[in-house]
């Protein structure tokens, strides 16, 4: 595994312990998850116990130690989205992708996550697909978005 990027990321943050979470985010953006080798490099560069870094990596929900799929679908289950029918969207996504939140489809195309509030409450229910926000979702709209992604050839930016 090429770990040079990890060193570059830590360099960029000047080995400051206060930037640990930002470092882990950048590492995850690059590798699509947090590989154990990368975490060991981060721990040694920041002069922290690997235990502490492992604890941080498993404590915060935005990190995953398991490789993610090509498209990440994040559904907001904040209160406003909940009263506007968020759980219905979750049911639809679960039945379309046949996975539970926190899992990735076997063909590694989609990862499903739920999050507690994206801050776009006025237009709930909201889902975020690959950093793009979609508001006022219904189960039918959610299905259309998934279908669109499924049929795009892998080279095209979705």
């Amino acid at each position: 595994m090429d770990l040079k990027t990890v060193d570059l990321i830590v360099d960029r943050y000047q080995e400051k312990r206060t930037t640990l979470i930002s470092i882990l985010h950048d590492v995850q953006d690059r590798y699509k998850y947090l590989p154990s080798e990368a975490l060991r490099v981060v721990a040694s560069r920041l002069r922290m116990d690997i235990n502490e870094v492992y604890g941080v990596a498993t404590f915060y929900k935005s990190f995953t130690l398991v490789p993610q799929g090509k498209h990440s679908i994040t559904l907001c289950l904040g209160t406003a989205c909940h009263v506007r029918g968020g759980p219905k969207i979750l049911r639809e996504l679960k039945s379309l992708l046949h996975i539970e939140p926190g899992q990735t489809t076997p063909d590694k195309q989609f990862s499903l996550n739920v999050v507690n509030c994206l801050g776009v409450c006025a237009i709930g229910p909201v889902i975020m697909v690959d950093q793009k926000f979609y508001g006022e979702m219904t189960p039918i709209k959610a299905k259309k978005i998934i279908e669109k992604l499924n049929y795009k050839p892998s080279g095209v930016k979705s």
Binding site: T18, I21, T79, V115, C117, A122, G124, P139, I140
Partner: protein
């Protein structure tokens, strides 16, 4: 961009900016907040840019800005034309050329893009004519449509950083703290601790260096006030922190932005970098001898990190575990040093108080709750968005006058305030004023400002269950009552919503709630039972219906409801086609029928039925 080393430099720069801006006869302000981004405001902005490039003469006279969130997200994309103050909503890229030709070039309004007041059936031109905005008192959010958050020049043009110069050169640190104390400003994060006193305690605390922190974690689901402020006007927060740090004697600041707010994080970073380049952050700011710099810290997806000791642990690179508040953070906070932590909205109020004076600030609001507060009004109400109003305004006014009342013909039943630490307030108590103390007596609290309106179609047992499950997930897990107690509370509520509750359930729930509230280590656990207890207090009958009659009056809890088709059915067959379990049968043009054993209660049939023939019982 310029580097300013003295007060004179700064004022000269400001003069030059204003002169440059005079060239512009008109400003097209496109909202770039996350809400409008979800409606693709980027394409609207690109369309404007294309048109302006085509019409070169216009480009010199018309400024195009991507600005901060004005708070009316459901009508996005929002475009404001200044100085005429024309407010266009739901603008699409296809509308842009018409806006340019009609409004910009010929001064006429594009009627169909204006807001229509459904009551008076009249088109309204400016934002402040719209009922949603009319009753608001927009002090913090007022300049969002003039400021491009990625251009420090815009902030300077509206008078930004003048309060900083006043504080640095015309006031002593103790005088600044006195001014904040006299103003009556109380923390906007939810606890409402007097800000001036906090600053004073931090200043007096022994130890160095001292730190100031801005809490932009905003974990309360349903709240997005801090997002709008941080995305739209990050310099106002920065200026507040500068003034506070100077008053307290701090040399380093941190802005902690939650991971789920990528745009707020980006704009905060840009603001800090620009302020640094301009010489407004760093060493010897404006030649005053004051050193201060800011680092942006990112959250990792943990609601508990909104709690001050957990937030500090997170900045230190540790897990977000709260600690006992026996020793306050102003005495020993970040790295054990005196630390002053305030919410985004609290910091944003500081430059205004220094500019306009504590007398002005304390003239707004009630005796114990001064100033304005931004609320996020969301849920089952007609107009959703950010509402900035003076403290002491009634719930009735916010929900009905500003919010426009019920939607979809369902009566409003309650409003949830204070997020997972608060509770629900029934419609019968909507005459209560909203401030730090009044709602607490009713069993809720004002909290950070989230207001989630609920109607007849909301099941209060389901809401209580929702909050408990939310807190279960967000609990750090250190202490037994929160970790195990919330789990068991969740089990009891699950049972009730599945029709498995019994006569003992409520008593056990209440017993458990009291112990969790008493013995938990931090605020999360201590306030966790509030949503449950307030739901029980005002909507006990709903709980009892679930337990004794195995019925969900609001028609939400799936194991207890049944979908059926009424005589209104036209036989169009849309429901049968969409049903994922093929549970609907019927012949064309004849009343259709749902097979209860196959029905998954997904509700898709109700969504597609144009005749409104699907009923939940």
């Amino acid at each position: 961009m310029r580097k300013v080393k003295s007060l004179k430099d700064l004022e000269k720069w400001r003069e030059d900016i204003l002169l440059k801006q005079k060239r512009h006869e008109m400003i097209i302000s496109v909202c770039g907040g996350t809400g409008c981004q979800a409606y693709d405001c980027q394409s609207v902005k690109d369309a404007f840019q294309k048109e302006l490039i085509k019409k070169k003469k216009l480009k010199e006279k018309v400024a195009l800005k991507v600005t901060g969130c004005p708070g009316f997200c459901e009508r996005g994309p929002l475009v404001t034309i200044l100085p005429q103050n024309i407010f266009y909503q739901k603008v699409k890229p296809e509308d842009v050329s018409e806006i340019i030709s009609k409004t910009i070039q010929n001064g006429k309004k594009v009627e169909r893009l204006l807001f229509e007041d459904s009551g008076a059936k009249q088109k309204l031109t400016s934002a402040n004519e719209i009922p949603f905005y009319r009753s608001q008192m927009r002090v913090l959010l007022s300049r969002n449509d003039l400021i491009d958050p990625t251009h420090i020049e815009d902030y300077l043009a509206v008078g930004g950083y003048q309060s900083l110069t006043k504080a640095l050169f015309k006031m002593e640190p103790t005088a600044i703290i006195e001014e904040i104390k006299t103003s009556g400003l109380r923390g906007r994060g939810g606890a409402g601790y007097p800000t001036g006193k906090k600053w004073e305690d931090c200043k007096k605390a022994p130890g160095s260096p001292k730190y100031v922190i801005c809490n932009c974690d905003e974990g309360d689901p349903g709240a997005f006030m801090d997002r709008a402020l941080m995305e739209g006007n990050p310099h106002s927060v920065l200026e507040g922190m500068l003034i506070g740090a100077y008053a307290i004697g701090a040399s380093q600041g941190y802005i902690y932005v939650r991971h789920e707010y990528p745009l707020a994080h980006k704009n905060a970073e840009i603001a800090v970098q620009q302020a640094r380049k301009a010489g407004l952050l760093g060493k010897d700011i404006l030649g005053s001898g004051f050193n201060f710099d800011v680092e942006i810290s990112k959250g990792g997806g943990a609601f508990v990190c909104g709690e001050s000791t957990a937030l500090i642990a997170s900045i230190e690179g540790r897990v977000g575990e709260p600690r006992s508040k026996q020793i306050h953070t102003v005495q020993q906070g970040l790295w054990g040093k005196p630390t002053n932590l305030n919410n985004v909205e609290t910091w944003a109020n500081v430059p205004l108080i220094i500019e306009k004076g504590s007398k002005w600030f304390s003239s707004i609001g009630t005796e114990k709750s001064k100033g304005t507060k931004i609320f996020s009004l969301v849920g089952k109400v007609k107009n959703t968005g950010l509402v900035e109003v003076p403290m002491g305004i009634t719930l009735q006014k916010i929900i009905f006058d500003i919010g426009g009342g019920q939607q979809n013909g369902k009566k409003i039943k309650a409003v949830q305030t204070g997020g997972p630490s608060g509770g629900c307030i029934p419609a019968s108590l909507f005459h209560l004023p909203v401030d730090f103390d009044s709602l607490t007596q009713a069993g809720s609290m004002m909290g950070s400002g989230g207001m989630i309106v609920m109607d007849e179609g909301t099941c209060m047992v389901d809401v209580a269950k929702y909050f408990v499950h939310f807190l279960q997930e967000e609990s750090c897990g250190k202490c037994l009552p929160c970790r195990e107690g919330l789990k068991r509370m969740g089990e009891i509520l699950d049972n009730i919503t599945e029709g498995k509750g019994d006569g003992e359930s409520l008593a056990l729930l209440e017993d458990l709630s009291e112990v969790v509230a008493d013995t938990s280590l931090c605020g999360l656990g201590k306030t966790a039972p509030n949503p449950v207890l307030s739901a029980l207090r005002y909507f006990r009958s709903e709980f009892e219906a679930h337990i004794h009659q195995k019925r969900c009056p609001a028609g939400v809890c799936t194991p207890l409801i049944q979908y059926s088709i009424t005589k209104k059915c036209t036989g169009c067959g849309a429901c049968a086609k969409i049903c994922p379990t093929q549970a609907i049968e019927g012949k064309k043009k004849q009343i259709h029928h749902i097979l209860a054993e196959l029905c998954s209660k997904c509700g898709s049939c109700k969504d597609v039925c144009k005749a409104e023939a699907v009923m939940i019982q």
